[in-house]
């Protein structure tokens, strides 16, 4: 059987077939390929944005733990807050009900 020019040209690259099969299977495995590629791509393209967002979350987390009542000790700046008990009105200072006729 006479070989065609195409056969001649393909002969050199025939040993690439196993790797080409692997590439084909990778491309056609959407669950594995797209998830990994999407995550990698998302982090690769906007690294600065991701880093900034991570810093914001770290600050928020630190603030959260600093003021959390479960923390055991009150935050240092809490002494500067006004005493809520002092703000409550005594019975003498109670505001009279509104006279709807006046």
């Amino acid at each position: 059987m006479r070989r065609t020019p195409c056969d001649w040209l393909l002969e050199r690259d025939r040993d690439a077939l196993p790797r080409l099969d692997a590439i084909r299977q990778t491309v056609l495995a959407p669950e594995r390929a797209t998830l990994v590629e999407a995550v990698v791509e998302a982090f690769r393209q906007d690294r600065a944005a991701w880093a900034a967002m991570a810093c914001v979350w770290l600050v928020l987390a630190a603030a959260h733990f600093a003021v959390s009542p479960d923390n055991g000790s009150a935050p240092k700046w809490s002494v500067q807050l006004p005493d809520l008990a002092a703000l409550t009105l005594s019975p003498d200072e109670a505001i009279p009900p509104l006279d709807r006729h006046s």
Binding site: E11, A16, D21, I23, V27
Partner: protein, 183 residues
């Protein structure tokens, strides 16, 4: 054959993974041979094939005629090859060969006949690799893809006359190299 191809492409449009697998299996070696023949970079050629497959799956809606799936897929690979050349600063190799027009004068045997006359495969590879990139591209698309001039022109985004000129130049260059006993 074309009906089967159209059925496969239609199934691929409906996200039929087995149809995609069959299509890619049919074209993968020819695509790789084209990329490797054009770039001479084996690793880059694997990347080009993979990128072409990914883009084919994601852009199948842009294919208007299912019967032209082959040339459409080669067109994607061709674009990736051109991108590779730009990335590797080899744009100079892509310049149009001004002598192409002169080759139109010389009518001769089909370049595939010249290739057939080559007795040793290694010699054939060496001869093809020595062609300028535009001529090599046209010749490889003609031989590997079996595409007519119009399809090659569409893939390479050049006029049909330019493709004809490049094929003639490739044929003449191959004939000259063979007659000189190169390589």
């Amino acid at each position: 054959m074309s009906e089967t191809l159209q059925e496969l492409v239609q199934a691929a449009r409906n996200n039929d993974e087995s149809a995609w697998d069959r299509l890619f299996r049919d074209y993968q070696l020819r695509l790789f041979a084209y990329a490797n023949g054009l770039t001479g970079d084996r690793q880059a050629s694997f990347d080009i094939v993979q990128e072409s497959f990914v883009r084919a799956v994601s852009h199948i809606r842009s294919l208007r005629d299912d019967a032209r799936f082959g040339s459409w897929l080669f067109g994607i690979a061709h674009q990736r090859c051109m991108l590779h050349f730009r990335r590797t600063k080899r744009e100079g190799a892509l310049q149009e060969d001004q002598r192409d027009a002169q080759a139109l004068e010389a009518e001769g045997p089909d370049p595939r006949d010249a290739l057939l006359s080559a007795e040793r495969a290694q010699s054939l590879y060496a001869l093809v690799d020595r062609l300028p990139v535009p001529q090599r591209s046209a010749l490889l698309l003609h031989v590997l893809g079996g595409f007519p001039l119009e399809e090659i022109a569409r893939i390479a985004a050049v006029p049909v006359g330019t493709v004809k000129s490049r094929l003639h130049s490739a044929k003449r260059a191959l004939r000259d190299m063979i007659e000189r006993g190169d390589p």
